[in-house]
Amino acid sequence: MATTQAEQRVGAREIAAPRRLARRTRNGPAAVAFTLPALVIFAVFTILPTAYTFVISLFDWNPLNVAQSRFIGAGNYTKLFAHATPSFGASALTSLYFTAGMVLGGTAISLAVAVLLQRGGALLGAVRVAVFVPHVTPLVATSIVWVWIFNPQFGLANAVLHAAGLSGVDWLDNSATAMPAVLAYSLWHEVGFTVVIFLGGLSVISGELGEAARVDGANRWQEFWYVTWPQLRPVTVFVVTISTISSLQAFTQFFLMTQGGPVHATTTLSFLLYQEAFVFFHTGYAAALAVVLFVVTALFTLLQFRTRRSSSR
């Protein structure tokens, strides 16, 4: 049955009226009032401190006596590239080392584990729980446990080496092994989360395509490489992005396991920021570091939004 133009206009008006009301309700004073508490808390604890950090980054700041602080403009930012050991650049490279290890290693391991565990069943269900459990353990407590695992005299890691007839390693005290040791711990802690994400992805992809590939003679590897993984592209992008952001922000394990050493081998940007701000009290310089780290992390967050949007189209 055809509708007349008048009926359409009335109908449109009938639909538009509640929409306008809803919009007014969403944007009206009451709505603002309801969001005010959250806004106040967000402003006090996030927005204002962020802005204040930017202000501090323009000063040679004396936290003990603000009156002795001196405006130096971009001085702290130029110092980022000329500061003594460890430099901003060296720490950025260390962060990159850790991030690459976590993103490449973490993505590969979690994808492999997820593929192995996707079939289900009571035993595999228990293994899934076992893989996820490290992720819910507190970073502080488990970092301390892993310091003991890497203890050169009493630790489990060297006990295994000795049992195999090999000599022990100063895991956390040698600049060549400290970062791999922290990476081993961090992967143990983080992989459970990304495995769950990949398992979620595997549960919604089409099984028919894989079946068709097998009928066409593809082996298991070819099926995974050419059929399964391409379907997991959005999930992989998400895992890579979120792992990159969390790796750039990682701090606890470096604080507890290595204190940025030995010989600055694990001084990431996050640790350098802590060290400059709360050990050496170079507050202005640390604020400049924080601003740069904020920008880098924000760029990765934007990238995440972009890739999400493009993969959902």
Partner: protein, 426 residues
């Protein structure tokens, strides 16, 4: 549904209440009619906490008009952060523990009160000479600190292990190296140390400083100038690197010397007298734990006075400052120091305390030779850059002991960094 003005008003009011609630609790205050002295300290572990609490209660009993509130922090780095944060917020405690280089930084920022107006010359003269000289800042030669928990480094050893090898406590560093080598092997190490790192030096770094002094040149000149590339410093670093190469020294974290000694897998622990009760607990009576003064080097005996002093912050009222000084005087009195030393492991800051703790000294001879060392032991010079420079030395130790660099090259790098920091005066 249209929203009535009443609903809006209620919503706005509710939001206001919630917001106010969120902001509430930022301030707190109490008044008991007494003068309150807040003391920010890090004596929070083991026997330290109950000992300080006991002394505080005794003081309050003697001074009914003063209320001392202990603000306990878990460790020195946290303590410094909290003191800095409280100063930044404009609400510092009345007094706080501080190392001399912290005090130098605070004084430079004009947030400390000199204590010259409170302390009489007789009060200062009653202290050990080494303790006394650590209370003044070179910037204006005024008395900014008052002593509290002082320590020197001694050697702890496994008597059973040494006896089994026919050895006794070494008297020279060469003897020490020979004994440590003899004890090492089959899972046992002569000595385990933690040098710390750039973010903070640890006990191993203090040992290196003592070794350099024992070889003839302390790593800092009296004016704070770093001397990390002296022949003595290179010899000291080479000494430690050789021990490491020989398997007689291992690196670790979280008091590795104490852990190895306690487990019967370490011959020695080179550590502060303040470790005495912790080491005793770690050993747990499994074998007799010996204590001895540090061995001597070619330049004679050397030791380092560690531990903190107490500073008074400028923000306090005159009444609070006066009450705080009474508390500081009490803490350094012979009776209080005798109690403190007998229960904490630290050394008394005044020789007048020793007769009052004769029984404890008889049973624990380390207190006597430790206190004797206070006559000559030197603290690191009180300049703001010293702790950071010590961190550079810790990094040099990490590098040299793991074979990444030669001792001379590692120390040269540390010297470059430390000299730049000293020049900047930070």
């Amino acid at each position: 549904m249209p929203i009535s003005p009443l609903t809006r008003a209620v919503a706005v009011l509710a939001a206001g209440v919630l917001a106010a609630g969120g902001l509430a609790g930022c301030g707190a205050g109490s008044s008991s009619g007494k003068t309150t002295v807040t003391f920010m300290e890090a004596m929070s572990a083991g026997t330290l906490k109950p000992s300080l609490e006991y002394l505080t209660k005794q003081f309050e009993k003697q001074h009914k008009d003063i209320d001392v509130q202990l603000v306990s922090e878990p460790d020195y780095p946290t303590l410094r952060n909290k003191e800095t944060a409280s100063l930044a917020a404009g609400k510092p405690p009345t007094i706080g523990q501080a190392y001399s280089d912290w005090a130098a930084t605070y004084a430079k920022s004009q947030v400390l009160v000199p204590l010259d107006t409170y302390a009489k010359q007789a009060d200062v003269d009653a202290l050990y000479p080494g303790v006394r000289s650590d209370l003044y800042l070179p910037s204006d030669h005024k008395l900014y600190m008052w002593p509290f928990n002082k320590s020197v480094v001694i050697q702890y050893y496994n008597q059973k292990m040494l006896s089994a090898k026919g050895k006794s406590a070494p008297k020279t560093w060469d003897e020490f190296a020979a004994t440590a080598r003899a004890l090492s092997g089959n899972g046992t190490v002569g000595v385990a140390i933690d040098p710390g790192g750039a973010a903070g030096p640890a006990g191993g770094e203090a040992w290196f400083e003592i070794l350099a002094a024992a070889y003839g040149t302390p790593v800092f000149a009296d004016d704070g100038t770093p001397r990390f590339t002296s022949a003595a410093a290179v010899k000291a670093m080479t000494y430690l690197a050789d021990l490491k190469k020989a398997g007689a020294l291992s690196l670790g974290k979280n008091y590795p010397g104490q852990v190895a000694l306690g487990a019967g897998k370490g011959g020695f622990d080179i550590s502060s007298v303040a470790s005495f009760f912790y080491n005793k607990q770690a050993v747990g009576g499994k074998f007799p734990m010996g204590t001895a003064p540090l061995p001597s080097g070619p330049a004679g005996a050397a030791n380092q006075m560690a531990g903190t002093n107490i500073v008074m912050f400028a923000k306090a009222s005159d009444e609070e400052k006066k009450a705080a000084w009474q508390f500081l005087s009490y803490l350094s009195s012979p009776d209080a120091q005798a109690y403190w030393a007998s229960h904490s492991g630290y050394l008394p800051v005044t020789p007048a305390a020793l007769p009052k703790m004769a029984d404890f000294v008889a049973k624990n001879p380390y207190q006597k030779f430790g206190a004797d060392a206070l006559k000559t032991a030197k603290a690191d010079p009180p300049y703001p850059w010293v702790t950071k420079a010590q961190g550079e030395l810790a990094v040099a130790m990490q590098s040299a002991l793991t074979g990444k660099q030669s001792p001379a090259a590692a120390l040269a790098d540390a010297q470059k960094q430390a000299a730049a920091e000293a020049k900047s005066g930070e």
